[in-house]
């Protein structure tokens, strides 16, 4: 365990940014998102969740993966160079780290998405939550607001300093290179981590019990909740695009004359043309099927395929849905128990 004085953070960032591109939460026009650090960056570590999850870095909204040239009858395909993976994500909240592990299940399963794999070589420095928001519910999925096991380095906010713990070899190597900046905390400070973790877990107001939700959710396909929940849905993509685990994509071509490129871009199961087939048929013809798909996917289908929930309880969709469609209501419907702290 080490620590860094908050006053020295700019120094740290400058140092890290020299080693590799450094992404951390920054504010622009009142919006906090992960962005590459540069001199004078308005870093906002204290805010809980960025608007967009760090998914947007490991799985960017759109990326070109091949270029083509089509002349007369001839076609040439050139792969795009795979993306740089040696960057650092700093200040990722535990739920978002968990979100990335969910994405891993999809993109690292066979056949491996090499672009994703490359981007995943990044170093993730997670910052524990001291005081989760009312709309956070990561603990529902067995996650802990004060700890991100899948991170390379874990940080805890000790007011004037950040406590620093490397969790992986990669984290350890990086930590070693920072001896000038890191200090050894006092035993009391080291001990405070446990306290911070516990407090954070207690502060999360709603205590969830998700026993059997996975199983019950499976039988929810014909549940009455879908008949009412979808009616107010606007069919926008906020919930899916802001979700740290949503990974649906589309493939598109862009061309200018004989040259062009093929890209992959985020898509949303909330959009009415998401499953529209060329024949004009649509297996999910109304918003009801789409809303159901989204929640069933998080709570039943994804667990069925990959063994873990497709939701990490970050609360983004709860906070940003223009009409307050709230996944916790669905969880309750599926038998999730809830009690207030």
């Amino acid at each position: 365990m080490q620590e860094i004085q908050k006053a020295r953070l700019p120094q740290l960032w400058e140092y890290l940014a020299k080693k590799a591109p450094l992404y951390l939460p920054q504010q622009e026009d009142g919006v906090i998102n992960f962005a590459p650090w540069q001199e004078g960056a308005r870093v906002k570590l204290e805010s809980l969740n960025t608007v967009l999850p760090p998914k947007s870095i490991v799985f960017p909204q759109w990326e070109t993966y091949l270029h083509f040239t089509q002349k007369a009858r001839e076609l040439k395909l050139t792969p795009t160079k795979e993306p740089e993976g040696s960057y650092i994500l700093f200040g990722v909240r535990p739920c978002d780290v968990a979100g990335i592990t969910v994405l891993d299940r999809v993109f690292l399963q066979d056949p491996v998405d090499v672009f994703y794999e490359s981007r995943r070589r990044c170093t993730i420095i997670s910052l524990a939550c001291n005081e989760p928001d009312i709309s956070c519910f990561c603990s529902a999925f067995g996650l802990e607001p004060g700890f991100a096991p899948a991170a390379d380095i874990m940080l805890w906010d000790g007011d004037k300093f950040l406590l620093w713990q490397s969790l992986t070899e990669k984290g350890e190597t990086l930590t070693h290179s920072l001896t000038d900046l890191l200090e050894v905390p006092t035993p009391a400070e080291t001990e405070s981590v446990q306290c911070l973790r516990e407090t954070a877990a207690t502060v999360q107001e709603q205590k969830w019990g998700l026993d059997g939700v996975k199983e019950r959710a499976k039988d929810m396909f014909n549940a009455p909740i879908w008949d009412s929940l979808y009616r107010r849905c606007l069919g926008c993509g906020i919930c899916t695009y802001l979700c740290p685990t949503c990974h649906c994509f589309d493939i598109g071509d862009f061309s200018r004359g004989e040259r062009g490129e093929r890209f992959r871009c985020w898509d949303s199961c909330m959009y009415k043309d998401f499953t529209l087939m060329a024949s004009g048929e649509n297996p999910r013809p109304t918003q009801k099927e789409r809303v159901r798909q989204r929640f069933m996917h998080k709570l039943s289908y994804f667990p069925a395929q990959h063994g873990l929930y497709g939701c990490v309880g970050c609360g983004r969709c709860v906070r940003k849905c223009p009409v307050n469609i709230d996944i916790t209501q669905v969880i309750k419907e599926a038998g999730g128990s809830i009690s207030c702290a």
């Binding site: 070109t64 862009f254 200018r256 490129e261």
Partner: protein, 145 residues
């Protein structure tokens, strides 16, 4: 540095939407009269200035046009009675709006050129080319791909 940086040897690409009955005919007359104007101007024929949707103009900018001209009949002379009156409103608004989002107004020009104004067609096109040359390439609306 301005976003629209000047480049040396910059040859602007200017797309001109010309209505068939007045401005396209005016361009024809400029041709018949061998009135020279820069080859940077490329004309797309439309039946009427009212056929031109702002989408086409934006698309032209996206795909690399440095300037766009919409040319129609003089007010009152529209072959289709009132098309250019609608165009007048549409492009008055669009030009101001583009300027509002930071696009130099000079990049979108609207002119009334009649079938008999061949020399005016040539002159207007010359002027626009000169202006765009000074402004430099359009980088603001251009698709980077």
């Amino acid at each position: 540095m301005s976003v629209a940086a000047k480049t040396q040897d910059f040859e602007p690409l200017i797309v001109a939407f010309c209505c068939n009955w007045c401005s396209y005919a005016g361009a024809d007359l400029a041709g018949t009269g061998r009135m020279s104007y820069p080859a940077n101007i490329r004309v797309i024929r439309v039946p009427c200035s009212s056929r031109v949707s702002p989408n086409f103009i934006l698309r032209a900018f996206q795909r690399g046009a440095d300037g766009v001209v919409v040319a129609g009949c003089h007010p009152g002379d529209c072959h289709y009675v009132s098309g250019n009156y609608h165009a007048r409103r549409r492009f008055s608004m669009l030009r101001r709006f583009l300027e509002f989002v930071g696009i130099e107004a000079e990049r979108l020009e609207v002119h009334w050129i009649s079938a008999s104004e061949g020399s005016r067609f040539a002159q207007v096109m010359q002027d626009i080319t000169d202006k765009i040359r000074v402004l430099g390439p359009n980088r603001k609306l251009r698709d980077s791909r």
